[in-house]
Amino acid sequence: MTPRTLALAAHSLRRIRPIAMGMAIVLGGFQFLLTQVAVFLTRNRAFGMLASLVPDFIRSLAGPSMVAFMSFGGVVSLGYFHPIVLASLVGLAIGIGTEPAAEVESRFGDLVLARPVARHQVITRSVIVLVTVVAALLLVMASATWIGLACCTPAAAERPPFALIRSLAVTLAAIVLCWGGVALAAAAAARRRATAAGMTAVAALASYLVDYLGRVWDPARLASRLSPFHYFEPMALLTGGALNAGNVAVLLAIGAAGVVAGYAIFSRRDL
């Protein structure tokens, strides 16, 4: 890694710092508060009541994951698969991944690439920023969960093991990095950030819905395998399953393919 790549990465990290710090505060705070919600529900013996409120057909549709969700560990872990958290992290990854298109659009890229900076360094910079920011945010989330569990949880509560939190964080990081890589590929070809971000966001939304249909409707099950969200299975972890390395590998491979495509497209195109 050259000093120029690091200079670019440091510049991008400085630019994204306010958003990343804001998200860290919100997501970390959310994780901490979830532990307190779980403590509150435990003290009031509310998990059983909550479960009884869920209609039978929903319970049968959701399977054991519903049981897992209606537990101390399930509530504590909510942030690692809540659709809003997921959408915000994927959105952030799309924002970071589309920086090359933003630089082409604003012409800042002309100033950078008129210097002895290779085009692949621009893509490498985005990968560094993406991985750094996603890792930092998940570290903050995991730390907030751990702090919440360590400081304020009654001894009787069924605390989720650290390995579960780690596995949930890893699988969430994998899906976020996957979409970051896709965004990078789109940005490498686009002249406008909005185009690249919009295309990636629509693809992510479509993939999420395809996966959802596949989970609840047999005819769509096969098609859902094409969705990256098919390989994002936090509920399996909540119900006691081990981290599926194959699923994580598929997600990271999709992200890596996006990065490789980004390198290839960006190095060949006219700016």
């Binding site: 630019r15 002309d110 950078v112 690439l113 008129a114 002895p116 900076v117 290779a118």
Partner: protein, 302 residues
């Protein structure tokens, strides 16, 4: 360095709907100040972007100091300072942070004394550099652009419309800067619409029209080619001659005023006028603007 600062060889760039550059060939010598002219969309910026490998040519090749701009792009760009037509500065970054970041991407460290000298020459105060670029006027952004292009003291400066947005005093400061760069042995390749400016500072010019390089000449040769304008007023009516001396072309002739264009030596026409009752005689060198407007408008003479 023996190789010319810039050599483009049968360079073409075609986009799906338009040909931006057609078979252009050109050499710019080291130490030269070269003006690259043309109307909007003539292909000036495309040529510059090919030199910087921001755009890839459809055909032909471009070289900077003998290095292929596409195959040895990094080495080329290590020797170039570039001012884009529209510098894409981030509005929320200060001028100083912008200069520091771009200096960190240069091949060799920026000499702070040289940068300070540039800032002083272009009157960008230290307090200005502490402000975010979004607060800058158009002229200040231009000055910042010039400083970032020149701060690494690269042997070749490629400047796209360098005085756009500068007030007359700053334009003079820019001309003085170009003179200093010339004295330091730097080569300047600049595109411009401002013909008096080109006439004032450039050694040679190239003119693009619709993607074709239709003229490459020194300013002096171009003037010589265009000829001088001779206007003679007579104290009494005289008859127009049946034939004019070689190189002499009447523009408007009346019994008391002859308006002529003279290409070549003035001796023959002066000799003829000497025998006539001259009341007034005016000889004007042509302005570059007049000459080039004919190239902008019409196909070049065969």
């Amino acid at each position: 360095m023996d190789a010319p600062a810039i050599r483009i060889d049968r360079l073409s760039k075609r986009y799906p709907r338009v040909t931006a550059l057609r078979d252009a060939s050109l050499e710019v010598a080291t130490g030269e100040i070269f003006g690259f002219l043309g109307l909007n969309g003539a292909g000036k910026t495309t040529t510059i972007r090919i030199l910087l490998d921001l755009v890839r040519p459809t055909a032909g090749r471009a070289f900077v100091f003998g290095l292929d701009c596409q195959r040895q792009g990094l080495d080329v760009r290590g020797q170039v300072g570039y001012l884009p037509g529209e510098p894409g500065f981030y509005g929320d970054m200060t001028g100083e942070a912008t200069l520091d970041l771009l200096a960190a991407l240069a091949r060799s460290p920026v000499d702070p004394r040289w940068r300070r000298a540039l800032l002083d020459r272009l009157e960008l105060a230290a307090s200005d550099l502490k402000r975010p670029v979004r607060e800058y006027s158009t002229g200040m952004k231009r000055k910042l652009g010039l400083v970032q292009a020149c701060q690494a003291d690269a042997p070749l400066l490629v400047l796209d419309e360098p005085t756009e947005g500068l007030d007359p005093l700053m334009q003079d400061a820019f001309y003085a800067l170009v003179a200093e760069l010339r004295a330091r042995g730097r080569t300047v390749f600049m595109s411009s619409h401002v013909l008096p400016e080109v006439e004032r500072i450039c050694d040679r010019i190239g003119l693009l029209r619709s993607g074709e390089l239709v003229l490459v000449s020194t300013v002096q040769d171009l003037r010589r080619l265009a000829g001088r304008r001779v206007r003679a007023a007579f104290a009494e009516a005289v008859a127009a001659p049946a034939s004019w001396p070689a190189g002499c072309e009447p523009i408007a002739v009346s019994p008391t005023v002859w308006d002529l264009r003279v290409r070549g030596p003035l001796g023959p026409i002066v000799a003829r006028l000497a025998a006539l009752p001259i009341a007034d005689l005016d000889v004007q060198m042509p302005h570059l603007e007049e000459i080039l407007k004919t190239y902008y408008a019409d196909p070049p003479a065969a």
